[in-house]
């Protein structure tokens, strides 16, 4: 009974998420606006800038979309005209720029791997010492933990 309730809840979430993926032209236009830096000097993305230049870019994007250009064409045209800095993120199509995208996740993955091996070694080490000391396997409350429990009891009451 509990399992089927969970299934229904998850099914509702999945069903609701799936139609979201279809994007209309206005959504694409806003995505492009968020991918380009306004060249008025404000250093903000076009979607955020409210200057006249940003207005012109917004109009141009919609015009290009209406003329049949897709997102990548439009971004490439802007990069060709204004250089790489007009793009609000490092273009992942350039191999060197991939490092920008990959490094943070590699860093977390490397840290995660290190933690995994450290924890494994610590746990093994602890068990070895405990076995050597001949302590019981389960349910041990040594004096130190009993003292700590008492201290925490004091903290609460």
């Amino acid at each position: 009974m509990r399992g089927s309730a969970l299934f229904i809840v998850v099914a509702i979430i999945l069903a609701a998420v799936s139609p979201v993926l279809a994007a209309d032209l206005e959504t694409i236009a806003r995505d492009i606006e968020s991918s380009l830096i306004c060249y008025c000097g404000c250093t903000m993305v076009v979607a955020s800038c409210s200057c006249g230049t940003a207005e012109q870019i917004r109009a141009d994007i919609r015009q290009r979309l209406a003329a049949g250009e897709d997102r990548d064409d439009i971004l490439a045209a802007y990069v060709a005209q204004y250089g790489d800095t007009v793009l609000a993120y490092p273009d992942p199509a350039v191999p060197f720029n991939l490092t920008a995208w990959v490094m943070p996740f590699l860093g977390v993955a490397a840290g995660g791997t290190l933690i995994f091996f450290l924890v494994r070694a610590w746990v093994r080490n602890y068990r070895d010492r405990r076995d050597e000391a001949g302590e019981a396997e389960e349910g041990m409350f040594d004096d130190k933990y009993r003292r700590r429990a008492e201290e925490e009891w004091k903290d609460y009451f």
Partner: protein, 669 residues
């Protein structure tokens, strides 16, 4: 008279520099030779320098207030028409003034450490003071010999250039001061950490001192960041509050590593582990503040906050290198002090969840760092300039952020030492159930405009709230059963008996409420730009905005304010009038946008006057409806309240009450 005041300022800084030089020398020699009198003399010097730097600051405030335009700094950042409050805030509007603020805050902290530190860890104070004074010496060198706020002109201009109109906002009175209190404050835990290593101490006192100072400075930095976001929201006129600007990032990085430390230090407290990691985190946090200052001062990255290109960047780079090498030397030289006990019993435990929490927080700090410096790396290695802005940071940090929120729910409730399936089921079954139900409800409610990121953000936030509520209710029930107290008394005493735990819960609650606000406002914001005549309306998200005309006003220091009047209705009911404007300032090339915001718990109606034509009687408005922005501010205040609650001293009466209750508890148990 006033020129003499400028000279007084210069002389004061000069004296402060040489006194600091003496203080550092006296501390080092006094400690090395165990000369108590020399150490006492150095301590007196700390007070003297704090006084001198305070005096220099007071002189600068005076010069700004009287408008002595012969002083370059006063002429650059104020003018006659500037309101008095902003004359005061001009103190930190420029390079030299903000350096003086850095020094002022640092020496006041050093004064507090040297004179008000009582109780445990007193032997660390001379060491910590020496380190703080050494850091201060660097800033005083810059102020005295490189960038002085008291530099004078050969002539006296009739008026000053005035303050950047964007800085003429009440938020600018609070944001820089609190940011500096946080940013500079991280020097104090750093100083205590290094002192503890030098004294070969890594025990409870070290943890207590470093943790408390970190918590206080972390709170100030949190306030600084949030007021910076509020300033950006109301003043920059683009409808958002965080643009992943390099200087914003510079404030976020130490905040993230400081947060990591505040969590991982608990493992050291309870288990005697992660000592090297904790010291490294404190060092990293401080070094990131110097790195951030380098970013702001060097002008190597374009930013709305930067002080422009200057030679100061090289000084900061050199100082950063020196402090990094010094920190690493002390760390490796004292590695044996940091030998850890080993009590890691199981991978499924609170200890592990804290390690993961640290991994994600430091990973997030690294992602921010990497994205911030990548343009420099690209330019250096490829010779190609690239921009790394919001799309990069959002895509990289949102997944890390959501995992962090989930851990925020797990960490407090998972068992120390070793968890079991029963422990997990008992603590997380109901929160998970509530989370899934809320996610399903939201998925249904938002089915036409559903976003996976929003769904995960709201789901994970619900999970955290549910775990907190569940834990508080359980603890309350146990307390009532043991002590027989009534609901209100039991709740009050439970919260005040363990301020740290429940302060932490309040902080977590604040964070998830902020996340709800951030997700809502960044994913579900809607905007429309429309040109209307007087009497015409703009419809957006159920709101109707009627344009009723333009007023031309004159509110100095602006030359002219063009103010539009817009009446806002919701479902036919009038909510109020908003008055977005463009202000023309003499020291600004174009008009400055002053947005108008009608705020409620559900939405902010954010109105920008984009253009107008008085002859044709038309005006163009950009209107945004930003959902749940108020939640962001409310969550931030809760975060600060939680931190204050956690660090608030317990008081004797409570300690006495505790003894009584303990006796009652034993009696009934």
């Amino acid at each position: 008279m006033d020129v003499n005041m400028a000279q007084l300022g210069s002389i004061t800084l000069f004296l402060a520099f040489f006194t600091t030089l003496y203080v550092v020398f006296a501390y080092v020699v006094g400690i090395a030779t165990r000369n108590v009198r020399l150490v006492a003399s150095a301590r007196g010097g700390v007070g003297g320098v704090a006084l001198l730097v305070s005096l220099a600051s007071a002189v600068l405030v005076y010069l700004l207030l009287v408008g002595d335009f012969k002083v370059l700094y006063v002429a650059q950042y104020t003018n006659r028409a500037l309101p008095t409050l902003y004359k005061v805030s001009a103190f930190w509007a420029g390079q030299a003034g903000s350096l003086l603020l850095w020094a002022l805050v640092l020496f006041l902290y050093a004064f507090v450490v040297a004179y008000f530190h009582r109780g445990e860890g007193r032997d660390m104070v001379p060491y910590a003071s020496a380190i703080l004074m050494f850091i201060g010496l660097f800033f005083l060198y810059l102020l005295t010999f490189v960038s002085s706020p008291f530099e004078t002109l050969d002539f006296t201009p009739a008026d000053g250039q005035g303050l950047n109109p964007l800085l003429q906002n009440p938020g600018m009175l609070i944001h820089p001061v609190t940011t500096y209190l946080g940013y500079v404050g991280f020097a104090v835990p750093f100083a205590f950490a290094v002192s503890a290593l030098l004294l070969r101490k890594s025990g409870v006192i070290w943890i207590k001192l470093t943790r408390r100072w970190t918590l206080i400075t972390w709170m100030f930095l949190s306030i600084g960041i949030i007021y910076g976001a509020q300033w950006a929201y109301v003043e920059l006129g683009w409808g958002g509050y965080w643009a992943w600007d390099p200087v914003e990032n510079a404030s976020l990085m130490p905040w993230l590593t400081g947060t990591a430390f505040l969590h991982s230090v608990m493992i050291q407290e309870k288990k005697g582990m992660l000592k090297v990691w904790n010291v490294s985190l404190v060092m990293m946090t401080f070094l990131l503040t110097i790195f951030g200052t380098f970013l702001t001062r060097s002008g190597i990255l374009s930013s709305v906050h930067a002080f422009g290109e200057s030679t100061l960047g090289m000084y900061f780079l050199g100082f950063l290198a020196l402090m990094t090498l010094g920190s690493l030397y002390v760390l490796f030289n004292r590695m044996e002090v940091l030998a850890q006990e080993n009590e890691f019993e199981s991978a499924l435990s609170k200890e592990s969840s804290f390690l993961l929490n640290n991994l994600l927080l430091v990973g997030a700090a690294f992602a921010v760092f990497w994205g911030t410096v990548f343009p420099l790396i690209s330019e250096t290695l490829r010779g190609v300039e690239v921009t790394v802005s919001a799309p990069f940071f959002n895509r990289v940090l949102v997944p890390i952020g959501i995992l962090l929120v989930v851990l925020t729910g797990i960490c407090p409730l998972i068992a120390w030492r070793r968890s079991s399936f029963e422990n997990l089921r008992r603590n997380f079954l109901y929160p998970l159930g509530v989370m899934l139900v809320v996610m399903a409800g939201l998925a249904f409610y938002l089915r036409d405009n559903l976003n996976l990121g929003a769904l995960l953000a709201y789901g994970s936030s619900t999970f955290v709230i549910a775990t907190i509520v569940l834990d508080v209710l359980r603890a309350l029930r146990v307390r009532q059963r043991v002590t027989g107290e009534g609901l209100v008394v039991a709740l009050f005493r439970m919260l005040t008996r363990n301020r740290r735990r429940y302060g932490g819960y309040l902080v977590h609650l604040g964070v998830v409420i902020m996340i709800i606000g951030i997700a809502g406002s960044s994913i579900y914001d809607v905007e429309v730009t429309k040109t209307v005549r007087v009497g015409e309306v703009i419809e957006i998200q159920g709101y109707t905005l009627e344009y009723t005309g333009i007023d031309l006003e004159q509110r100095p220091p602006a030359l002219q304010n063009v103010v539009a009047n817009v009446v806002v209705f919701k479902d036919g009911q009038r909510l109020g009038i908003v008055r977005p404007e463009k202000a023309f300032h003499p020291n600004s090339e174009g008009p400055v946008t002053e947005v108008a915001i009608l705020s409620s718990l559900a939405h902010d109606v954010y109105v920008i006057l984009a253009g107008w034509d008085l002859d044709r009687g038309v005006a163009t408005f950009k209107v945004k409806v930003n959902p749940l922005v108020a939640w962001l501010w409310f969550g931030a205040y809760l975060l600060v309240a939680g931190t204050v609650f956690a660090v608030w001293p317990e008081g004797r009466r409570l300690a006495a009450d505790r003894e009584v209750n303990l006796a009652i508890g034993r009696g009934s148990g």
